[in-house]
Symmetry: C2
């Protein structure tokens, strides 16, 4: 077992692997609190950060934050903590890249969309923690992070205590879960801990499945979506399929009514938002559909649960993705 | 009964009501064959046609065709034949406008998308013939018609002999059906006759339901659609729902396999085409979704047939329509 709680030690280095908007946000918060942080990301962003610092743009206030940078994986060797922030379709390739470089006591935390990244990391030999990320942030230009809302986490073991499935209510968060929460809370990042992070990952997946694809296909903000009875019906069908798949998969997720009500509250609170998937497609980029509605379809098929609404949305988003990326 | 077959008479005037691309195409073909034709349409197009003639642009060859024009409904008073070509959402309003102006012996032919225009015209006091239109044409500018494929019709009474439902195989095309076919065939327009035009209208509706909404939502041409197994599955579900609704509605439509095979052949023959709905949305215009997939949903609901695929497509197209029209 790695020793993760050693307050008397020198500061532990955090390496952000795949430093897009999410990775830059949390890396910057930790760096501002005194943690040594290395960002590993694309040259265009890293060059700008090395030269001028990260331009952290939040609520109309801009500041520059100094961070170490790298464009290759070598810096992973120094990491006590790895914030794993790559796009979900790159999880395996990135895991193969960093696995041979990790210190024996390094802890990897997946800060990604979707619910299966920890399993995919395990299959690649990395026993990661899972985190649910709530932050509205985007890269507005090279080295320029624009933050527009929230910035909090839920963290925990995937499936409860490592190597065994947690009993409901019985399990406690693992020591490394508590340690990562202290790291973030110490930097002013609210970080809820869970013994088993799966239900929290699914909560976010359900909301993403209900909003992202519809917003992307119709270039619509959340307000007009939840104002339309037919769209609400489609969102509810999508949510209901997700809940059935999660339950069949043994995840203690709240039911369809609760998830639907939460989605309506989210839409009301974010009437002017459109989904990250909509932004990806508007910019001609690929989406994470295979980790969102597409994942629900695959798990549903494996578990014998019909998912017609999620399947139609997945099919349409993939086709639109090919149209806008020319591939 | 109007006397419609009088070869010894002076040429009968054709009035095109709602002269967009479809109306201009068939009006021009009739005018070139010597039939007096009046186009009634928007001022921008009519002004150009009055000044310079219709610019008829087909297969790389351009010619100018003289036609009478009007921007109000008054010219309908002169019509022996009215080609009724308005957008389906304007059917009732246009019918109210022309009904008081029609000669007692005038015959109205609906050249519109969807399957319920004749019923809607009847409810407005106009006993029209139905026609299925196969033509690829668009207005490329004021008074400028661009024709890119086909140009043929299927015409017949809606529901068979007027006032009664035709017995399968027993009914003959009505006299006015034969007369309108002679008018078009005499102008070189292939015109198939049917005793009951409903199945032919549904054939086209099924193809429209399978292609138009998916093409519009994904900005996709037909080739990439039929190359994708998931899209083919969605198209087949959409077609199957249409066929079930048509059968429940008493329409002798060919089954799902035949309709699906026809759709695949159409997609193969038109790999580079995108749907008129896609073009409408790309240009910020409203679509005819309520007469296509939306109609199938409404009839399905009335007849107790589930139409989840058509419903999802309808919901998404309506929301996208609001995004692009700002309404």
């Amino acid at each position: 077992m790695p020793v993760v709680d050693r307050p008397d030690d020198r500061p532990q280095r955090v390496v952000v692997f795949g430093a897009g908007a999410v990775g830059c946000y949390f890396g910057a918060k930790l760096a501002e609190a005194g943690t040594p942080v290395t960002l590993i990301g694309r040259a265009a962003h890293m060059d700008a950060v090395r030269r001028d610092g990260l331009l952290f743009d939040s609520g109309g206030v801009q500041r520059r934050i100094r961070l170490d940078t790298d464009t290759g994986a070598e810096s992973v060797r120094k990491a006590h903590w790895v914030l794993f922030c790559v796009k979900t379709r790159d999880t395996e390739a990135a895991a193969r890249q960093i696995a041979p470089l990790l210190r024996p006591d390094a802890v990897v935390v997946s800060l990604q969309n979707g619910v299966d990244n920890v399993e995919r990391l395990r299959a690649s030999g990395i026993d990661a923690l899972g985190a649910v990320v709530y932050v509205a942030a985007a890269m507005a230009g090279p080295g320029h992070l624009r933050h527009s809302g929230r910035g909090d986490l839920v963290v925990g073991e995937y499936g409860g205590a490592r190597g065994e499935v947690a009993m409901a209510g019985a399990a406690q968060p693992s020591a490394r879960t508590l340690a990562v929460a202290r790291l973030f809370e110490g930097a002013g990042v609210p970080c809820r801990v869970e013994a088993d992070v799966r239900a929290a990952l699914w909560d976010k997946l359900v909301a993403n499945c209900a909003f992202n694809a519809i917003s992307a296909l119709t270039r619509s903000r959340y307000g007009p979506m939840i104002d339309d009875a037919d769209v609400r019906r489609l969102m509810r069908e999508t949510i209901d399929e997700c809940v059935r798949v999660a339950h069949a998969d043994g995840v203690a997720l709240a039911g369809t009514d609760a998830q639907y009500d939460a989605a309506m509250r989210l839409g009301e609170a974010m009437r002017e938002a459109s989904s990250s998937m909509e932004q990806d497609l508007s910019s001609g980029r690929r989406t994470e559909i295979d980790s969102l509605n597409g994942y629900v379809c695959r798990r549903g098929e494996a578990l014998g649960i019909a998912t017609p609404a999620n399947r139609t949305l997945t099919t349409l988003v993939r086709l639109l993705e090919r149209s806008v990326t020319g591939g």
